[in-house]
Amino acid sequence: MGDSYTHLWSTTAHFRDNPMGIHWTGLVFGLGLVISFGYWTTDFLVVQRVLSAHNLRAARMSPIIGASFKMAVPFIVILPGLLALSVLPFHLVPQDIAIQTGQHSYNEVLPLMLVRYCGPGLLGLGVTALIAGFMSGMAGNVSAFATVWTYDIYGAFLNKKASDSHYVAMGRWCTFIGVLISVGTAYLVQHAASIMDYVQALFSFFIAPLFGTVILGMLWKRATKAGGFWGLLSGTCTAIGLWAWVHENPSALRYVALSVDAKAMAEDMYRALWSWIVCVIVTVVVSYMTQPRSDAELEGLVYGATKIPEEHDDYWYQKPIVWAGAVAVVFCILNVIFW
């Protein structure tokens, strides 16, 4: 088994040396700085859990608890793949090759392992668990979709004075339509190199520039409405434009992903980084060209202009910073072990 299967960083000095075709700058700045921060701060699936916390400490603890579970994900996601690599009697290939040759694709690794090791009873349990996992992720996303549409767009701008029962009905229809849209978008995945590549491509289109807008809007008092709008629009257009450029002319990959050896996933990470940078630059430039808002208007919206409620912890182990530190230490240890 090659080093690239069991190490995080040691093979990322050059695009050629690892199967993802990525350089460490793409991982650190594209995935780490932009996509991951964006996912944790702007993806409503994550944010709604913090918004529904019953006090400030619970809200601060929820991403920390989430992070500690998130660190276990590689063991759940990558370990079955590594096991399959050593125990399956045949070699798994990428999806596009599998369609041509009739071999098994590496997207099928979990079902293949289930069929190999589980008899009729346990196989049913395994399939049930997979479906339950899909459903919980889907339910979270669809309910987030219904909430954002009904509360933040429909109720806030389109129909401000409707009855509660009207909004409930709207939310239910949103859930139904959201499921239909999800089913439809599943067909788009067929055109991506893998499911992960598809998700990262969407993240680079929407989450990466949105993170630039949210972080500047939250922390920078000088940011203006026009700056946020044009920054977000230009960031999203940059991402979609870069994607279309490489789609039409594959040789453009060496400009977008900095190397001819880059693969689809590396392209996603660099595309996210470029769209974030464009969003931030446009937001800053447009904000300086437009009229700033007074501190009084920004109260409750921007970090520097808002009084943060004080909280009191009785014991040291109730402080979120202690647990954040513990998670950071484990994170560093894991990175050293799997360097």
């Binding site: 090791y117 589980c118 008899g119 009873g121």
Partner: protein
């Protein structure tokens, strides 16, 4: 007013039901071997897993049954 049922009661009932079905399948396979057995079938995974899930399911069902 009726008492509230704990969420763990439903987890217990589900575990118990799954456990009994898997345990029964495993025992059935002892008497009627599969035509295409999965790898490592000699370890009788369905019996072990079915038994563990049945015990866990029983524990949660009894521990969190309705209080009146």
């Amino acid at each position: 007013m009726r008492g509230h049922s704990s969420i763990w009661l439903f987890s217990g009932i589900l575990l118990l039901a799954y456990g009994l079905i898997i345990l029964a399948t495993g025992l059935w396979e002892l008497a009627h071997p599969l035509v295409h057995p999965p790898v490592l079938n000699s370890l009788h995974a369905p019996i072990w897993w079915g038994a563990i899930m049945t015990v866990a399911g029983l524990f949660y069902t009894i521990r969190f049954r309705n209080h009146h």
